[in-house]
Symmetry: C2
């Protein structure tokens, strides 16, 4: 008998939760679409630089409330892509990483230096939302040859990634995509299916996430970070599935500590 | 009175629908986590290269079914990151794009050449899933200094992006993220809220997406690609919202053509 592996369902996107906390992001353009990009970026704690000769009231508002990292009020220039780069620092890090036989201590040190370089000097994403299709395409090509990740509004062909409809409730985030086929439908699914079902009377998903996070982290501490990983995951899965969303919304710290006590006993019995 | 703009809800991720169709992606590692990465990548039509000395049965299965672009059965080497790059071709494209005063025709030509370069020579993403933390970190640093986008399994600090729980029904794709706090909960939301509500008797979201896509594309043809964009969007929004998901699942081509006739009359009246 042939083994069964999940069958490929082609023609989708790769849906990902991008981490841009404290990382520089460049937005070229100052209109409503640019403002919507800036909003999503700020929700993910990015350091946003906007380059545009004219800006909308929303971007003005972000700027006045110190939500932008930098506002550059002029047309885009090629050098903006590498606006914060520091060539000598970059060359130094590259030479250090290329040295033969690095010790793990040296790698750790380089890790934090390269992390710093990335957070201070390198754009994690480039987004353009300008009305000029030729210029858009030119910025796209410049960005790609310099190995940047870019989204060009209104030019799906020139996008490494698309946006979609977002449901957000603190730690819980959901992206709905129709793979470009019906953006309106994704908003309807958000309004008519996600919101009513995720914000029901008696159910609080942020409380649930807090409660499950408390159990997960404390169990790790009790049993040991690198001990019984599979057993821990299995135990948490069973516990999570044993109660309804309503019940998980109501549990208090003493209930959670009781669960942890049970978990400790059960996992130690396995030794 | 101060204008109201959406308030920032910080500490989230930036949820994105990544486009990797026909683009090379490198997976370092051959175990179960690597296999799950490969599965997600193949669902988005990526050209997947796996580098690993030993591979799981699932990856073996993908390879035997010609689903991988290349399988390299040995340990990772630094040169793997630029495995398909072609320096002289890349330099040529860079010189061409740097030429002063490019015409829009020249930019179009470069667009397709650079697109080809990216699809044939450049990794769009790097994913590692190996048991060696020092080596993982080293690959991460190499990748970042070369401006690649990377996810290192089990090392959240060394990730440009995270995966989450995915609901998939053909064109409809949904990503559920707890921002790392409770992966199990995201799977429960998938099973207990998304599946039952999106796969109800009498509701077929793929039919709905097809129907709404048919209307969107045909209206564009009738009214003209660049005409009345705002009015078209508004009309489609109103139409979409006027019927239930059940009704949209039942409409046939003749119903849609009647809607389009109404739309045409209404939008032409506006002239």
């Amino acid at each position: 008998m042939e083994e069964e592996f999940p069958e490929i369902q082609p023609d989708g996107s790769l849906l990902l939760a991008w981490q841009v906390k404290d990382r520089p992001v460049l937005v070229v353009g100052g209109g409503d679409v640019a403002a919507s990009r800036v909003y999503h970026l700020l929700n993910a704690n990015a350091k946003v630089t906007v380059v545009a000769p004219k800006i909308s009231r929303e971007i003005q508002h972000r700027y006045e409330n110190n939500q932008l990292f930098e506002l550059v009020q002029r047309e885009f220039e090629d050098e903006d892509l590498t606006r914060y780069e520091n060539d000598s620092e970059f060359q130094r890090l590259t030479r250090q990483l290329d040295a033969p036989d690095l010790s793990s201590k040296q790698i750790d040190e380089l890790d934090s230096n390269i992390e710093n370089y990335i957070k201070n000097h390198r754009f994690a994403l480039i987004l353009t939302a300008i009305d000029d299709p030729i210029k858009s395409k030119y910025i796209y090509l410049k960005a790609k040859l310099n190995n940047f990740v870019i989204n060009v509004a209104d030019r799906p062909k020139n996008c490494d990634f698309y946006f979609g409809s977002i449901y957000r409730n603190n730690y819980l985030q959901i992206l709905i995509s129709s793979n470009g086929r019906s953006p309106r439908l994704t908003r309807l699914i958000n309004d008519k299916i996600l919101k009513p079902n995720l914000e029901k009377e008696g159910v609080d998903f942020n409380k649930i996430i807090d409660n499950l996070g408390y159990i997960r982290n404390n169990l790790k501490t009790i049993v040991g970070q690198n001990n019984k990983i599979k057993e821990r995951m299995e135990w948490i899965k069973n516990l999570t599935d044993s109660y309804t969303f309503e019940e998980w919304s109501k549990f208090e710290k003493k209930d959670l500590d009781n669960f942890l006590l049970e978990g400790k006993l059960q996992l130690l019995k396995l030794e």
